[in-house]
Amino acid sequence: MKKLITTLGVALSLCISASATAKDNVKVGFVYVSPIGEAGWTYTHDVSRQYLEDKFGDKIETTFVESVPEGADAERVITQLAKSRHDLIFTTSFGYMNPTLKVAKRFPNVKFEHATGYKRAKNVSTYFDRIYEGRYLTGVIAGHMSKTDSIGYIAAFPIPEVIRGINAFTLGLRSVKPNAKVKVVWVNSWFDPGKEREAADSLIDQGVDIITQHTDSPAPLQAAEAAGIYAIGYHSDMSGYGKKAHLTAAVHHWDEFYADRVQQVLDDKWQSQDIWKGIGSGMTRLAPLSKDIPSDVVSEVNAISEKIGKGEFHPFTGPIKNQQGELVIEAGKTIDDKTLLGMDFYVEGVEGQLK
């Protein structure tokens, strides 16, 4: 008897949730890979979570779990969120891809948004921003601000996402100074302040006068500040770590995108999709520019930014030569998304060897 009632209850509740069209409120969960802190990847997501709280007021309830290791722990956390009646769950790290899909299968009524991944399902979307567009702009700024024409780039792992950033930066840099060089140091870690610091110091010893990074700690910025040179941050505004050094940063901005998705859940119009947007949508931006950047450079950067945003200019427009000087993309043509997503070569001007 008891069993029957439970079964009936479950059937009834399924009925109700299936027939519901618009919701009054929504419960949104976030899974973070690292502590929130005051800068960095996770921080950008939490800023937007707070934006949602402000925008939707009592229509929304958000929860977050920070420092969730990728793998089995993630699955447990995501399951927990799905079980506790969250309608929409953002899993914000690449390594959450398979756990997200696994949990999504078991909770078909919960919507999932997985950042940086490439596997989707009916209730799993993916999203990422075209941060390389921001990288290109920071390259242009570096081209104007560098005196030695030698820039240091601290990078985590040689995967397409990182290589794409290095190449976009280099193309931007060389659009201003055709002979400038980018020295890349791989630290083989997303986060190791000690190593990042030493990498920055050894680049500074090699005569670079601007440091930029594709790692998560502010240590390179601190190194630049200590050495009295400029630096360009990543993920979020890092000026707090080096007021003089910080020129700008290529940053992610999720506010509007998150708000759209939440609204769609409220209106019951959410659908699985694959989002890869950049400056045009405001998903990729630059942090406030340093006062040291001359006004004509600022207006030049703004003009390029606008062109990229409107789709009139693509950072990867030919002629592009690879490191060996061979023509990869002919003049006037652009690199397609498939090549960008699998990018595995350096463009001309990058120093060091890519394995």
């Binding site: 690292s34 502590p35 929130i36 802190g37 005051e38 800068a39 921080y43 420092s67 240091g152 040689p158 020295k183 890349v184 140091v185 791989w186 630290v187 083989n188 870690s189 986060f191 190791d192 302040p193 000690g194 190593k195 990042e196 610091r197 030493e198 990498a199 110091d201 050894s202 680049l203 010893d205 090699q206 700690s217 502010p218 240590a219 601190q222 200590a226 707090g240 770590y241 120093e351 060091g352 060897q353 394995k355």
Partner: protein, 308 residues
């Protein structure tokens, strides 16, 4: 390669090696008394977070490092009580301390992620810092580097010439014999463990106050484990612990400098260099088994109680 580059490499080598040297030295003294404390990583993290919070609140580096050392000592006392008084497995107790320290430091430091402080300044020793090449590397470091050198010298003299140093070694070889000779086994082991805790705390604070002046979870990135391995490969000899720590530092730096130079070598291969080079050199040094036995504390890691 000009001289400046060599100077900078040496300078960075010492900075990178210093936290390793401090932890390894503390662990070596601890192991000399026959106690194996695998809690180094946890104690370092606790020292790092305690030092950082103190520095952030009082803006005084001396107090910051002192508190870090005290917190290291307190953490080591937990281990000492469990392992020495309750005779629990030292391996398990040490591992538990590392797990505990990692978690607790993350919890305590949560509000301090992303805060900045004034880093430990360097102290040039007047007159010496202008010596070509070696001047900047050796005589323009910060106070903790000089402290690590005096501790190395002190520990060397202590074990070689002082009665108490011999007593620590005797207890590490065979506590029962030591006890029969009237040596205070428990007290000696406690003090050795506490010394290890203090140095781990200072080493952690060196990371969060000097090396990279910021706090983030897990910022030691495995350095406590590397130090533990160094002690074994250095066959419990102080001069080799020092050599090993700097060798590791040097190879870590070269991994990055070689790339900055644009050397055409696979970066993954270079990343392996510190571990490989340190292992090979120290293994070559300790290939004489007879000699190795002479330096390894015979009672290492074994529980002991009176009347054993």
């Amino acid at each position: 390669m000009d001289l400046d580059v060599i100077t900078n490499i040496l300078y960075a080598t010492i900075r990178t090696g210093t936290p390793l040297l401090l932890v390894a030295l503390g662990e070596m003294v601890c192991e000399k008394s026959g106690t194996l404390n695998l809690g180094q990583e946890g104690m370092m993290l606790l020292g790092a977070v305690a030092g950082f919070i103190t520095m952030y609140q009082c803006d005084n580096l001396f107090i910051g490092f002192t508190v870090a050392a005290l917190v290291g000592v307190m953490a080591s006392l937990i281990f000492a009580f469990v392992a020495l008084n309750l005779n629990a497995s030292q391996v398990a107790a040490g591992l538990a301390l590392t797990i505990f320290g990692t978690g607790l430091s993350a919890f305590l430091g949560a509000d301090y992620e992303g805060k900045t402080i004034n880093a430990l300044p360097t102290l040039a020793i007047a007159g010496f810092e202008h010596i070509p090449v070696l001047g900047k590397a050796l005589f323009s470091q910060d106070a903790i580097v000089y402290l690590s050198w005096s501790l190395v010298l002190g520990a060397y003299l202590f074990f070689k010439y002082h009665r108490a140093g011999l007593a620590v070694r005797a207890i590490g070889e065979n506590p029962s014999v030591g006890n029969n000779l009237g040596l205070p086994v428990m007290r000696t082991r406690y003090l050795a463990v506490m010394f290890g805790g203090a140095l781990a705390g200072i080493a952690g604070a060196y990371l969060s106050l000097a090396y990279t002046p910021l706090w983030t979870q897990n910022m030691t990135a495995g350095r406590g484990w590397i130090a533990l391995a160094l002690v074994v490969f250095a066959s419990w000899r102080i001069e080799r612990v020092m050599l090993g720590a700097y060798l590791f530092g040097f190879a870590s730096i070269m991994h990055l400098v070689a790339q900055a130079f644009g050397l055409a070598v696979d970066s993954n291969l270079l990343a392996m260099l510190p571990y490989g080079a340190t292992l090979i050199v120290l293994i070559m040094l300790s290939k004489n088994k007879q000699k190795l036995k002479m330096y390894e504390p015979m009672w290492l890691g074994k529980p002991w109680h009176k009347g054993h």
